[in-house]
């Protein structure tokens, strides 16, 4: 018997805006649905991991008070945009270590319409005094380059364009075109509207080359998964076993030192490292993937991750999107959920939601957006700082 860990249950709320609910409501709903989906109860859980970035501490315990206080260990985790994947990884590790047979991981966020502009938003100092590790006398965002997310990821994409041919504004825009198009088939997506290339390229520029329609929205939502050990799974009813999805790889990396890393976060190396580890662990390669959910916080980000995940030839991300390969009818469908750009990005929930999406396809339960015959899928998230989580999932034999 292998020591594999399986996804037994999975759920997500529709991403959107829920002014009448709070994060506990959203997380509880996702957890209850995941437990029901796996035909288990909170009393079967040996561990709980809760992921959230912006909420107050103790999220896991607060949710327990709604879904069941059974006394199990709770791990509250935060890891930037990789928070949800880290929650899953936490439960995965506990099961691998033999300390748990079954566990629940969830991610949740409620962002509303919060703005993420910062730095220069502070009032100018009345008297300049050096402070911080750079001895800054005033906010530097906007003065010494940008620290805003659309800008940072724009620079990441432009850095790729500097090093490789065939990448420009149109290629980045096509990524957004694809993901908006894909989202029209996903009832759980925050937005479900198709936009033309002209609309995307002509929408207000945030940080060139990222226009408004090339940026993910803020939003609310939650997602949850129940993980189970192979041994425990084999003791369950056959129909439950048949719906379980194998986690062939669960990887978390951080960013190793690179020369430019102190001025521009390196989102590439840790993703490439995570992908290499994941493919090695799973015994599959990018050519085996039937679908990929990757971290398209901005269109510029998705394009460079085609290369980082090995979905295209080195340097060939522009050609990859131009060829139609990542469209849902292409060679390697990417973000058939609509991705962060249109499905939404309530940060703590995103990493779990990506695993939910891949799981749903491998079960053949994705409805109108189903990738027919999907057997292997990859879920990827990256958070600046940086952290990268990759899970490779496989359909039950």
């Amino acid at each position: 018997m292998s020591d594999a860990v399986w996804v037994l249950g999975a759920s997500m709320t529709r991403f959107g805006r829920y002014p009448d609910l709070d994060t506990v409501d959203l997380a509880s709903q996702a957890c209850i649905d995941a437990l029901v989906d796996g035909e288990v109860t909170i009393h079967d859980m040996d561990i709980l991991a809760a992921g959230t970035l912006f909420q107050q501490s103790g999220m896991g315990q607060r949710v327990q008070k709604q879904i069941g206080q059974t006394g199990i260990p709770v791990y509250n985790v935060t890891n930037a945009c990789a928070t949800g994947a880290t929650a899953i990884r936490t439960v995965h590790l506990a099961i691998k270590a033999g300390e748990a047979e079954m566990g629940l991981a969830f991610g949740v966020e409620q962002m509303g319409k919060m703005g993420l502009l910062r730095g220069g938003a502070k009032e100018e100092a009345n008297v300049y005094e050096p402070s911080g590790r750079y001895g800054a006398v005033a906010p530097i965002d906007g003065i010494l380059g940008t620290e805003t997310m659309p800008g940072v990821f724009a620079q990441a994409g432009m850095g790729y364009a500097y090093e490789n041919d065939g990448v420009g504004f149109e290629q980045f825009a096509r990524v957004a075109y694809k993901n908006h198009l894909h989202s029209t088939l996903n009832p759980l997506a925050q937005y479900r509207k198709e936009f033309s290339m002209e609309e995307i390229m002509g929408s207000p520029v945030q940080s060139y080359p990222n226009t408004l329609l090339m940026c993910c929205p803020t939003g609310d939502g939650a997602a949850a998964v129940v993980l189970v050990s192979e041994e425990r799974l084999r003791s369950m009813p056959t129909d439950v076993q048949n719906r379980a999805v194998k986690i062939s790889a669960s990887v978390l990396t951080s960013d190793p030192w690179v020369e430019s890393g102190q001025v521009q976060p390196d989102v590439n190396t840790l993703t490439r490292n995570a992908a290499a580890q994941a493919y090695e662990a799973a015994g599959v390669g990018p050519e085996d993937l039937d679908l990929v959910e990757l971290h398209d916080c901005f269109a510029t980000a998705e394009l460079i991750h085609y290369d980082n995940l090995g979905l295209c030839e080195r340097g060939g991300a522009g050609e990859f999107i131009d060829s139609g390969a990542p469209f849902r009818d292409g060679r390697t469908p990417v973000n058939v959920s609509g991705g962060l750009i249109s499905k939404g990005h309530p940060i703590g929930a995103t990493g779990v939601a990506n695993v939910y999406e891949v799981t749903t396809h491998l079960r053949g339960e994705a409805g109108d957006r189903q990738i027919e015959g999907a057997k292997v899928g990859l879920a990827h998230v990256i958070g600046l700082g940086s952290a990268c989580g990759i899970h490779i999932l496989e359909k039950a034999a």
Partner: protein, 141 residues
Amino acid sequence: MSDETDGDLPAVPERLPIVDYLQLGDDPHLLANECTKCRARYFDRRNACAKCGAVEFVSVRVADRAVLTAFSIVHRAAPGIPVPYVSGIVLTDDGTSVRANVVGLDDPMKAELGMSLGFTTYGCGTDDNGTECVAFGYMTV
């Protein structure tokens, strides 16, 4: 410093660099903390080298000439920041990456990957004491 200043009060500088790794004077330039073991460079205060773990650093001058390796034309920024502006990542002739604005372009869309740039400084504000804040950027050469 003025002779009239009260002896109990510190001198009020005429100019201050926006960050401490900007060296002002007749020949403004950037200073980096360079690891004595592996030569990795940092602009901020470090407890140890993130590349090799060594704990000794020396201050070194960063080359003024650079090429633009990545940029974004920022149209949406925090209040008080004039837009659009060009945020750039440059690679200096001595191999140090720097983040700064590309200044002096009459049209931000004229920013081009690979363009040659030179170091420059400019005033970016004044505090209640009349001290000018000096920032740095890169402009075409």
